[in-house]
Amino acid sequence: MEISVNEGILDLNERAASENRKLFDRHGLLVINIMGSPGAGKTTVLEKTIDVLIDSVRLAVIEGDIYTSKDARRIEKHGVPVRQINTGGACHLDARMIRKALDEFDLENIDLLIIENVGNLVCPVEFNLGEDIKVAVLSITEGDDKPLKYPLLFKESAAVILNKIDLLDFTDVDMDSLRRDIRKINPVVDIFEVSARSGEGIDDWVRWIIKKVKEKTE
């Protein structure tokens, strides 16, 4: 006997994500989901970002990690509320994990929530969290072929941070071709070239965030 089904595999997560989204909207809270390979520099970018933002925006952070709380401890030192989510093996955060972590925050008094997803170029992008904006962090040392190899993340992201540009001279990366490939996949994406080590380019990126926060809270 043939049974017709037609049900989305991610439907459960999608429903949880849209519940999260309603909650975020109700509190006028902008939520950014940062994704990228292990070691791309997500936490370092975030640390630099917090130091610039902390005087003008009320922000909080959720750190996703498979087992450890190392990144959350790094963020804590910068003086913002942070929650650690350990996925216990899973390669991505999902909407229900976020929902649980939200109970720890005073949402009414936060304008911006930044979520650092588990380090992985493939899986996290498939699982919506209810965020307003997805951001990809790609370090140029990973090679300029990554966008076309992992197009979905670059397609879904509103901004791409090309990190570690201080190392440009030590790589064979063709920046023009890297930018071209990203824009091919996503013509409307904003690209930021930064060094989270030196702080170069962080200001432009932070201005972009502030603009997005204003758009959401106004």
């Binding site: 089904v5 037609n6 049900e7 595999i9 999902d94 498939e126 979905l152 397609k155």
Partner: protein, 113 residues
């Protein structure tokens, strides 16, 4: 390797549809998977085996129907296959390509006996 997580979703759906058919065996599950998803068919197959083991789905055939990435140009109404993930209209060079197919990720049907 999030195919295991995806397969958990597949089996939730399969269970729901076989809950009222306890003495039935599932003999085939058909998934529809778009080109612009991060689900790898081979990994889906091995995750399927893991989940099926010891259940009424063990031994069932998994069919993965792949859907190509296609888009519609909002400016000139061109519609066709997106090559190499290039979201630039091949006809008018417009940047407003809307995805039509290629993001599917669902259980289409099952066969039980």
């Amino acid at each position: 390797m999030h195919e295991l997580a995806l397969m958990a979703g597949v089996f939730d759906i399969v269970k729901k549809y076989t809950a009222e058919l306890p003495d039935k065996k599932v003999t085939r599950v058909t998934l529809v998977v778009g080109e612009l998803t991060n689900a790898v068919p081979e990994a889906l197959e091995s995750s399927f085996q893991v989940y099926a083991k010891g259940t009424n789905v063990e031994g069932a055939e998994l069919i993965v129907r792949r859907i190509p990435l296609t888009a519609l140009c909002v400016e000139c109404r061109w519609e066709g296959k997106v090559e190499e993930y290039t979201f630039i209209c091949p006809k008018c060079s417009g940047l407003g390509l809307e995805i039509k197919t290629g993001r599917e990720l669902y259980v289409e049907s099952m066969e039980v006996e």
